[in-house]
Amino acid sequence: MATRTAFRPLVRAARPQLQSAQVHRCFTSTSQRAESPSQSTNHERTTHFGFETVAEAEKEARVAGVFSNVAASYDTMNDFMSLGIHRLWKDHFVRSINPGSSSTSPSPGWTMLDIAGGTGDIAFRLLDHCTNINNSPQSTITISDINPSMLSEGKKRSLATSYANSPRINWLVANAENLETIESDSIDLYTVAFGIRNFTNKEKALREAYRVLKPGGVFACLEFSGVTNPLFDAVYKRWSFGAIPLIGQLVAGDRASYQYLVESIEKFPKQEEFRDMIKEAGFVVPGKGWEDLTGGIAAIHKGIKPAGTP
C-alpha cells in the first residue's frame, strides 16, 4: 500500500523526464569512461561497486559518475528508495540532533560540517533548526561534497532559501576520506546523510570525522540500512532490486547507475556492524548506537568523540 502511494506521483513526475533522457545520457560520458574494462592488477586494492569488485581508484571515478548521472533526478531516486518518506527522515534526523542548542543564551553557535552534502538538503534543515528553534543564528555550516556538480546544484538551490549567499554557509569540494583543509578538533557536529555507503574507504572517512570533531563533538549519520522484519525485507528487496533499476532506466535512461544505488545499499554494513565501525574509530555511542527508521529501511547512527583523551 505504502509503495503504491509513493509510486504514483513519482511515475507521474517521471513521464515528462522521459523526453529528457537524451540529455541525461550526454551526462553519462564521465561514467562511460569509468565503466571501461577494469585494468586492476593483483596488487591494487579493491573495493565494492555495488556487487562488482573494482579497484579503489576506479570506484571513486565510478561513484562520481553515478552522481553526475543522477544529480538532477536523485531526489526522485531517494523517493523511490524511501517509499517517499526520506524528507520525514531528514526532519527527524535534524530534530534528534537538536543543532544550535546551548546552555547559555545567546548560544555561541555550533560549527557544523555536512559531508556528502550534495544538494544542501540536510544543511538548510540544520541551519533552520539552529535559527528557529534554538535562536542560534551564529551557527555556521560547511557543505562538502566530492562532486562539484552536486555542490553547484546545492548552491543553485540555496538561492531559493533564506541562505542565499549567506556567510553562514561555506562550500567545499573534498573527499570525505581526506579533509586536510579542515582543522583538527574544530567541528561541533559532523553529519552525513545517504553518503557514507558510497565512500571507498569508510574506516578512513570515520577516522577523518573523528579528527576534525572537537572533543565531545557529534558524528551523526543517516543511511539506508537493514530492514529488521524478514517479511517486510523480502517485499522491500523485490521492490528495490526489481523495480528501481527499471524505473531508473525509464526516468533517467540510466539503468546501470540505479542498479549501483540499489546494490550499494544492500552492500552497506548492517546496523550493528556499522555501529562497531564507529566505535572502532574511537567514538562512544549513545544507547545501542543507532535508531531504526521505518522498520530499518534507514537508520540514524551517532557517535560522540570522548573528551579528555588525546
Binding site: 537538536n98 542548542s101 546552555s103 548560544s107 561541533d188 565531545g216 563533538g217 557529534v218 560522540i304 573528551a307
Partner: protein, 245 residues
C-alpha cells in the same frame, strides 16, 4: 547476608534474580555499577546533578554538566532520551545509595522498622531537588519513559525490602513490593508540596500510610490499588502542568 541471598537467588523469580545479582555485586564491596549508563554518560550525568536545583530536570542542566565534564553542548546527543536521563540517573544513584546507609542497616531492629527508616532515607534523597520533582514526574509520565520509571520504582522497593533483611519467597513478596511502592509514590508526591520544617508533615503522612497497612506478617495492599494510584497521581501531575486530561 550471604546465606539469605543464596536462598533468594535460587527461589525468586527470574526478573528479581537479575536484580539481585546486580545488587550483591554492586551494593557492597564494589564501586558504582555500569548500570544502564556508560562511563562517559555517568561522568556527564553526575556533573549535571548539581545543576538540577537551579535549572531543573532540563536539557540546560545536561548541557551545563557536559561542559563541567569537559564536553560541549552537542555532546548531549549522547542522551537520546533527553532530560529523562537525569531523572533515571537520579533514581538509580539514590537507589544504589541505600546500601550505604550503614546506621540504618546495622541497627538492631526488626525488618518493619528498617523498611520505614530506609523509605524515609530515600525520601530525604529528594530534598535538594524536591522543588523540581514535579518536572521529573511529568517526564516519568511520558509514555516512552513509563516502563523505565515503573521498573525503577519496583527495583527500589525490592532493594528496601532486601536490605531490611526480608527473605520471604512466597506470594506476599509481590504484595509487599506493591504496597511499599504505593506508599513511597504517594509520600513522594506529598513531599513536593510540603513546606513544614524538616518535612515533619511528610514524616507524619508516611507514618499514617505505614499504619494503614500492617506489613510484617500480614498480606496487604494490592497491585491494582497501586496501579490505580500511580495512574491518578500521574493525571494530577499532568493537570497541575496545565494539560487538559
Amino acid at each position: 547476608m550471604a546465606a539469605p541471598s543464596t536462598i533468594l537467588r535460587r527461589l525468586r523469580p527470574i526478573s528479581a534474580r537479575g536484580n539481585l545479582l546486580a545488587r550483591t555485586y554492586h551494593s557492597y564491596d564494589h564501586p558504582p555499577p555500569p548500570g544502564p549508563f556508560s562511563t562517559t554518560e555517568s561522568t556527564i550525568l553526575s556533573a549535571s546533578l548539581p545543576h538540577i536545583p537551579s535549572h531543573g530536570f532540563t536539557l540546560t542542566s545536561l548541557s551545563l554538566g557536559a561542559k563541567d565534564a569537559g564536553y560541549i553542548d552537542a555532546s548531549t546527543n549522547l542522551f537520546p532520551q533527553g532530560p529523562f536521563a537525569l531523572v533515571h540517573y537520579h533514581l538509580l544513584t539514590q537507589r544504589l545509595g541505600l546500601a550505604q546507609k550503614k546506621e540504618v542497616l546495622e541497627a538492631d531492629e526488626g525488618i518493619g522498622a528498617k523498611v520505614k527508616k530506609l523509605t524515609w532515607e530515600r525520601l530525604m534523597g529528594n530534598k535538594e531537588i524536591v522543588h523540581r520533582w514535579q518536572e521529573a514526574l511529568a517526564l516519568m509520565a511520558q509514555p516512552s519513559n513509563v516502563p523505565t520509571s515503573l521498573k525503577e520504582l519496583a527495583a527500589q522497593s525490592d532493594e528496601i525490602w532486601f536490605l531490611s533483611g526480608d527473605i520471604s519467597v512466597d506470594t506476599s513478596w509481590y504484595t509487599k513490593r506493591a504496597s511499599l511502592s504505593t506508599i513511597y509514590a504517594a509520600t513522594e508526591l506529598f513531599m513536593t508540596t510540603d513546606k513544614s520544617p524538616d518535612y515533619i508533615d511528610t514524616r507524619e503522612f508516611l507514618d499514617r500510610r505505614f499504619k494503614d497497612v500492617q506489613f510484617v506478617g500480614g498480606v496487604v495492599g494490592s497491585v491494582s490499588q497501586w496501579v490505580g494510584f500511580t495512574a491518578s497521581a500521574g493525571l494530577n501531575v499532568l493537570r497541575s502542568k496545565g494539560v487538559r486530561v
